[in-house]
Symmetry: C2
């Protein structure tokens, strides 16, 4: 019933500069193609052709196409998580932690970080298609969950002291929910470019701000 295990370990690390290039080109090309045709239609031969490489060059560093997707996923999620967590620690855009004095102040910060996550996702080759593909491939689903669980946990730790009147479990669930919905909103903005991204960003952050005020 379970899908056969597939090796995902990187075979070799590129050492020379030229090899580093091919490694990067594979990832960039795969990302673009992922957006165009989805993981299921993506072929290693196709990547090679579009990247101007030959299969052995690709297979030197990636044991199969799942490994390529995993690397893309790792990188994108790392970038997103780092941005969010930096904001939590007070270094992010709009500076300061979660504890603005007024709703407007908190809102401004939320909007800034939400905007940045969108920007990061947009700039990344493959963008939101990576997240979609990760969700759709059972073998790689755990990647996403663990990443979000981690971010949510950090959020929880950062704020639990501030809301002693709220049950821990509720606060935990709330943080996990926020992370999930925040990323969902980001993907929505990235995927549907004709939508009014700014309004949507603002609304989702307002949503969260109001929600936060229900904690004690």
């Amino acid at each position: 019933m379970q899908p056969e295990p597939i090796r995902l370990d990187t075979k070799l690390q590129p050492t020379q500069a030229r090899a580093q290039d091919t490694y990067e080109i594979v990832l960039a090309t795969a990302g673009e193609m992922l957006r165009d045709m989805g993981f299921e239609q993506l072929t290693t031969n196709g990547i090679c052709q579009r990247a101007g490489l030959t299969p052995p060059a690709l297979y030197r560093y990636f044991p199969n196409k799942y490994a390529i997707l995993r690397e893309l996923g790792d990188r994108l999620m790392d970038a997103q998580d780092k941005a969010v967590l930096a904001w939590l620690d007070g270094d992010g855009p709009g500076q300061g932690g979660l504890d603005g004095p007024t709703r407007e102040a908190r809102l401004a910060k939320s909007v800034a970080i939400q905007r940045e996550v969108v920007a990061i996702t947009r700039a990344f080759p493959g963008g939101a298609a990576i997240g979609r593909a990760l969700r759709a491939v059972p073998m790689l689903q755990s990647l996403r969950f663990t990443s979000r669980d981690m971010v949510a946990e950090r959020f929880y730790e950062a704020i639990r002291a501030r809301y002693p009147g709220t049950a821990e479990t509720r606060l935990r669930v709330a943080m996990r929910l926020m992370v999930e919905l925040s990323y969902a909103a980001s993907e929505m903005v990235v995927e549907e470019p004709d939508r009014d991204a700014e309004t949507l960003n603002h609304e989702v952050c307002l949503l969260f701000a109001l929600y936060f005020e229900s904690f004690r």
Copy 2:
């Protein structure tokens, strides 16, 4: 660059009872397998084998595996949308429309419908895997978007008269956002069974209730 167009039209309608059965068995089996291994690993031969059929029996009604996924998607989304919209019209669980007198009343209704969407998704063969697969296959993405746009629009129409002080665009965006986040939360609950579904349900509904109160 664009993926080749693939025919999705149903080839033949089953007329006899036995044929109706095989049609349903194909869908049910495909749904289960989708959950286990994802669309990309799903094969028509595999479906046939597990369903106790032969390829020609399957290909009599489905031109290819995309058509199977599309039918699954149509059915699931129809079921979900119908439940949500019935609630909007006042026939749904917890009965009554959006206009409860107190926050508690409105919240109770939201929780009921959210719970029902989760139940529908859980009971459906393939469950949340269908939504994931639809998102990951570019050719079928539009299905999802149009479905949600439609639901959001109905919501918008149902409530815009009640909030004359809120800009139309904002209200529209808000409704679309709610629909997206609501379904995202449902999938989250369905996919991660060890999470506290009830708490999560309650939180997401509270989130919406508070948000609604910001309209005028």
